[in-house]
Symmetry: C2
Subunit: 220 residues, 2 copies
């Protein structure tokens, strides 16, 4: 069996579980957001800021994927939302079967929004459907403005490209317009948001987009 | 065939090519350094600073691994060293067979040091031996001080842990001592270097370590 055939089979098993999850989340009206980025781009910090703004109006929950440690789930539980950690023990991405198994461990009470924070990796998580409504890619300004073209898969597939840590723009070389042009070339649908969890810039706009999408899903 | 069995077989094919490379590099006295980090941690920038300091005394060459674009190889060629790009087209790490195939494309004139800059990914490249003398992990201070325990595989295997972009320390929360403690817990051998390619801090120390290792290899 070639590596391509093996990958195809693993993806097909993943896709069956993803379809199961998608049906389940449609019935419960849960908006599911799959967050993908390099390690340390600020996914968890963005979620902390999101919880602070939205937990009063929506039931939020999170699944955190990491190679090791429970640290990220603990950070979100401290914010008062149910958060579970999937420790992949070496695997470089979350798989829909892991998410399904985690959800089957107990009742989550059908959250309005489920955030799935993937393993820190711009490559492997891109190909794995987790039954989400959309993918979000987070790119911090410290990572450099050449990344969309270097990692085209995720920027082509993400509905929102979040540029994070814009409070650091004065201290790094990062051309926002260059990134915008690359993202547009890869996806005509993608929204680009400039955010700083530290100053709060852009976070309201991010929350408004989520709010709009969850209301839209409930109406269907 | 389970995923574990498949991974084992792929690794074994990789390891045969890695052994071939290791023998070849021993005969030529080439020091081979496998650089691994998240996207945007500053591997290419560190190499640019290294070339500026070392190219007068040593024959240097580089292999650049990326999902897409020739950009990094072009950056190093502009510094005047032979640099070849392996575009993996989706694969999340370099494989020893790709490196072997690249070297067989033509004569490189046996460099003293060959830098292999892996695909930006803290996970997958960790398991693939490329025939290198040692692995280097690069972690920028903007990625957060929890990363060694979150990505223990690479920090346990790297001989040098480079903390990069230390010029940004005043603007981010990053506890160097916490990182040092995690790295020590994962590897008793690892050297921790604090660097800034922008200010030059720590780069001489990095070059001195490389210089020491290349002389040691030539003596054997």
């Amino acid at each position: 069996m070639s590596q391509i055939e093996v990958n195809r089979r693993l993806l097909s098993e993943n896709d069956q579980a993803a379809q199961f999850l998608r049906d389940k989340f449609r019935r419960s009206g849960t908006l599911v957001v799959n967050l993908i980025s390099s390690p340390g781009s600020g996914k968890t910090t963005l979620l902390e800021a999101t919880v602070a703004r939205m937990a009063g109006d929506y039931r939020l929950a999170a699944i955190e994927g990491d190679i090791a440690t429970e640290r990220d789930a603990e950070r979100l539980r401290r914010q008062g939302i149910p958060a579970r950690q999937i420790v992949t023990g070496g695997a470089c991405h979350l798989d829909a079967r892991q998410v399904k198994a985690e959800l089957e461990k107990g009742d989550w009470g059908d959250p309005d929004i489920l955030f799935i924070e993937n393993v820190g990796n711009l490559v492997c998580p891109t190909s794995y459907d987790l039954g989400e409504d959309f993918k979000v890619v987070v790119l911090s300004v410290t990572e450099g403005d050449d990344k969309p073209f270097k990692y085209p898969g995720i920027f082509a597939r993400a509905w929102i490209s979040v540029i994070s840590k814009i409070d650091l723009l004065p201290y790094v070389e990062f051309d926002v317009d260059a990134v915008r042009a690359q993202v547009r070339a890869l996806s005509s649908e993608a929204r680009l948001l400039l955010t700083s969890a530290r100053t709060g810039e852009g976070v309201d706009e991010w929350c408004a987009l989520l709010s709009e999408r969850v209301k839209e899903k409930k109406r269907r």
